[in-house]
Symmetry: C2
Subunit: 390 residues, 2 copies
């Protein structure tokens, strides 16, 4: 297996863009990444494109990758459209990384793009519900807020986690988002504001739930041995790991076992353990989710994230910053764009280009996305580790 | 790169099954493949699942692979949902082949599943239209029958191809389908019946257009060096090639240049040329398409398929049988299932298990699917070559 480098990254601002199409968002993210990489788009050998609900929202049910890459002048090459709910972008990255690592290609573009805002928001609600088992879950009303509210209630019972500690994730991530020009929300939220926002599913208030959004993110990958012609300071993909749910009743719902299993895959591939990680972007679709992710991944011990939040350990400047980009809660969460946007953030941080949200001295970053939910378990988890190269 | 073997294949009957779900169809195809392979499903290390329009038709917008494989007891392992319009199943096969060839996994299940029949057929029509560029094509009315009708008219002008010659593809494929117990249609169609069926888009009559259908197909792949424990007569994947459209006006619309480019990729990988192919399953979504595919792939010379049809060269028993399974026209075309079903047919033929439609002495088979259409060109083409192993 060859090492794979990230040559360039690009990302639109995330937000509500009623007048922007999948093509339009993709074009901006791809061109940013192409310019950042300094690569001639004609030299890109393959494309992996992630989109989750474009079929329902825009009517573009199929070949989204071919349609949007054509707008950038990328034609003729193999293109694979990947989907794995909120892990769609991460899955596309993994497939491209595997293809280059194995020597099938030297260069690839990975794009995640999503339109969630629609004239008819009922469409969006229904489309998102399709990340569960539509025959099983929808018939009994276990939607995503309900699922996470149940896990939060259980954690409060088992570990004594407080509503305030849950809310602190939102305060932290909204604070970080204020320093990210591409974030959907630039607004400090006080603990009181988070707790007093509308109750969605007890104890999850509105400011503890990620919102819908539109956006795109793209990265250019290159075999590391070919990357030297473009850069002397590449960022390397140390590995990508994936696992899916096991859906057993024995699984404790206060622990992210799928995160643990996917994390173990990438730690083994990378030869890098959780103790080596300098910062992480994890899938904070709800505040409670951040607890499950960081503890499942071994970045914090089970039950200890409460203490960490109380003591600022996961803030920028803390022992192990979590979601310096603002995370899903503040940066936004256009489904398939999220996993690729996390890679953009890792690259900016590792290059020292993250401006006022820079994690000082960062050499190893971790990105994590979980997607979907089946039978009370997550459907899929993808974890990537990036590091400074050469 | 390691050789990859197909250990087992499974396929539902294709047809109109209003009471069968994605789960139900998947379960049948997967269990057939698992039993055929003699593999414990717990030993399958990864899954690649193709579905194209389930989001619109069934509401299962995301994580279809995880949802349906759980029904077979396959959980925990990496699962990637792939889409590439009519090449979705072929794309899933390619990704799995790459992952095993590269050594990431030893075993994989590849599944293609589709539900096209819906209570509201307007939904199906809209979903299928999403295989084009929805902003560009749909606004000007170039749907798929119109696209292929234009190409047929041009071929008639350039090569003097007759309406009768076009129709002969349908006569041949419907005849072949009569010997395939899993085909959607078991009905001989005379030349007169084909020509006098309802006109859809001149010169394409209804019996020259593939119909919608429901169905699933699955295959189990295994690293060839590990396959010996399961079988002494494996079928090997000699290679898979993919290309996407280039969408230029210079492209002659009477020639399948995308098929040519994807074919060249696989011929180079496999070290097998079109002259070595004993039979082929190609994407006969319309009768005219079969001409474009076989000539683009170099199986017949440009313009010569008219003569070949007149002289029975592509019939079972002819020089180079095309679509012995009945093809899309008779076997049916549940979008994402088609590419995997072609692999099933290749395996049955190469094993000598194809019953009354057996191609005698077949040692090398080729499968081709093209998907989608953008700016008057196909969006993507995937070609696989399988051969008898050891």
């Amino acid at each position: 297996m060859r090492d794979v480098a990230v040559l360039g990254v690009g990302m639109t601002k995330f937000g509500k863009f009623m007048d922007r199409s999948l093509k339009d968002l993709s074009r901006e993210a791809c061109w940013q990444a192409i310019k950042d990489a300094g690569v001639n788009p004609k030299h890109i050998q393959t494309g992996y494109v992630a989109n989750a609900i474009g079929g329902v929202i825009t009517g573009q049910t199929m070949v989204t990758g071919e349609v949007v890459l054509r707008e950038v002048g990328i034609v003729g090459i193999p293109v694979v459209n990947c989907e794995n709910a909120c892990s769609s972008g991460s899955t596309a990255l993994r497939e491209a990384w595997m293809a280059i690592a194995a020597g099938f290609y030297d260069t690839a573009i990975v794009l995640g793009v999503e339109k969630e805002y629609a004239q008819n928001t009922q469409k969006t609600v229904e489309a998102i519900a399709g990340a569960g088992d539509v025959e099983l879950e929808l018939s009994v009303g276990v939607n995503f807020p309900a699922h996470w509210a149940l896990r939060a209630a259980k954690r409060m019972e088992v570990y004594g986690t407080t509503r305030e500690q849950l809310a602190k994730v939102s305060v932290k991530n909204h604070h970080n988002g204020c320093f990210n020009p591409r974030a959907q929300y630039h607004k400090e939220c006080s603990l009181e504001q988070v707790l007093s926002s509308r109750m969605v599913a007890t104890p999850m208030t509105q400011l503890q739930c990620s919102a819908i959004g539109d956006g795109a993110a793209a990265v250019i990958l290159c075999a590391a041995d070919k990357a030297r012609q473009y850069t002397t300071k590449p960022i390397l993909i140390a590995g990508v790991g994936m696992a899916t749910g096991v859906y057993t009743d024995e699984r404790p719902i206060t622990f992210g076992d799928m995160e643990q299993r996917s994390g173990q895959v990438v730690y083994d591939i990378a030869g890098i353990g959780p103790e080596d990680v300098d910062f992480a972007e994890v899938h904070d679709c709800f505040t409670i989710a951040e607890f499950m992710r960081v503890e499942g991944l071994g970045l914090f011990k089970p039950g200890e994230y409460d203490y960490a939040l109380d003591h600022g350990e996961s803030e920028i400047g803390g022992r192990l910053p979590i979601n310096p980009s603002g995370g899903l809660l503040a940066k936004g969460h256009p489904i398939a764009a999220t996993g690729v946007a996390q890679i953009c953030e890792l690259v900016w941080q590792l290059r020292g280009q993250a401006g006022d949200r820079q994690v000082e001295g960062a050499r190893v970053g971790l990105a994590h996305c979980s997607g979907g939910g089946i039978a009370g378990d997550g459907a899929v988890s993808v974890v990537s580790i990036l590091k400074k190269g050469y």
